[in-house]
Symmetry: C2
Subunit: 206 residues, 2 copies
């Protein structure tokens, strides 16, 4: 079904993100979304078949935004490790300015029940670029031999948590802090030898 009004479609998605970020999945309903978007409840179904379809669209659009932010700062001819370091920094800037989107992504990817209902892989090119980078890292034995989902988790969740702490003024935002975070994430995902290589090429960390 083709949405009749792109602007209303977008308004529903934005409202859904706000409702999810504030109240979580348990509290989520199309009634609340319609109310916040200022669109009659009965019209929601013109755009989204049901609640599950709306959630799937939210997932798709938020992961797309995240993927664009991450890939935007990446030089595709750089080494896998340098691309991953750049992805941490792109994601951090994104998380600082898009708190709600970051919350929703963590919420949806952390919910096993929701994840298993998502049949299709995300098809947008930016997300596929990240997927390809990780596959290359695994094949070339740069990344640790663990599940891709675990690598993706380590490359994103700590960055979101760090941005949360900065926003809550629990820690100060400094270039050194971001450098340490990047080193922590790479220390987790890279094989020891690749991590040492990356360290040697980067400015020394104390």
């Amino acid at each position: 079904m083709k949405p009749k009004d792109e602007q209303k479609h977008q308004r529903l998605l934005t409202a859904a993100i706000t409702i999810l970020a504030a109240g979580g999945l348990a509290n989520f309903s199309t009634t609340k979304v319609a109310k916040l978007a200022g669109i009659p409840q009965s019209n929601v179904y013109i755009y989204f078949e049901n609640k599950q379809a709306l959630l799937a669209a939210v997932y798709q659009t938020t992961v797309h935004q995240q993927s664009v932010a991450v890939t935007g700062g990446i030089a595709t001819d750089a080494s896998v490790a340098d691309q991953l370091a750049a992805s941490v920094q792109g994601l951090y800037q994104f998380a600082l300015t898009h708190g709600d989107v970051a919350t929703v992504i963590r919420l949806l990817t952390g919910d096993q029940q929701f994840k298993t209902t998502l049949a299709a892989k995300l098809a947008d090119p930016e997300n596929q670029q990240i997927q390809a980078l990780l596959q290359r890292g695994i094949t070339q034995e740069i990344l640790r031999p663990v599940a891709v989902d675990l690598l993706r988790y380590f490359l994103t969740d700590p960055v979101y948590r760090y941005a949360d702490m900065v926003r809550a003024e629990q820690i100060n935002a400094t270039p050194e802090g971001l450098r340490q975070l990047t080193a922590m994430v790479l220390g987790a995902v890279l094989r020891p030898t690749s991590y040492q290589d990356w360290l040697t090429r980067s400015a020394p960390l104390n």
Copy 2:
């Protein structure tokens, strides 16, 4: 106020953990807790002054359980790195068998608003033992020079996520998988030199 009946006190806490794990903070109410515990709503306040006090008690009891699980497997005369490796493994076993408790801890520690309302530091000896271990690691320049909260996050959240993935049968539980997870966590929190030392002393990771 001294609880009148230790068994009812415990039943309310257990019900609160179940309700929180299923529906999150947004959906949490003393009404639901009373109903699940089979205790009249009006009697809840004999045990907990208000919802906030009940949540604080849930936080205290869940963190205590986690701390006991973590410190139980630790040889206090071992090196900081080996103690942290043992803590990852203790926490993993705990997370596998106490899914609800793990969910609640992640939920409460991830909620900045809730954390800032928690005035007092947790006073139980096992939690203080972990705190002291981290302080020692920082002072001795074994752990990275970052906020203790960030170190605690890296030492716990990935382990919980990994246990979630195992429970959801997204990944298989193997000794090698747990070894890789431990190496990822230590690669994140230890300074590069300490990590290399630990690697050299441990069985080689490919």
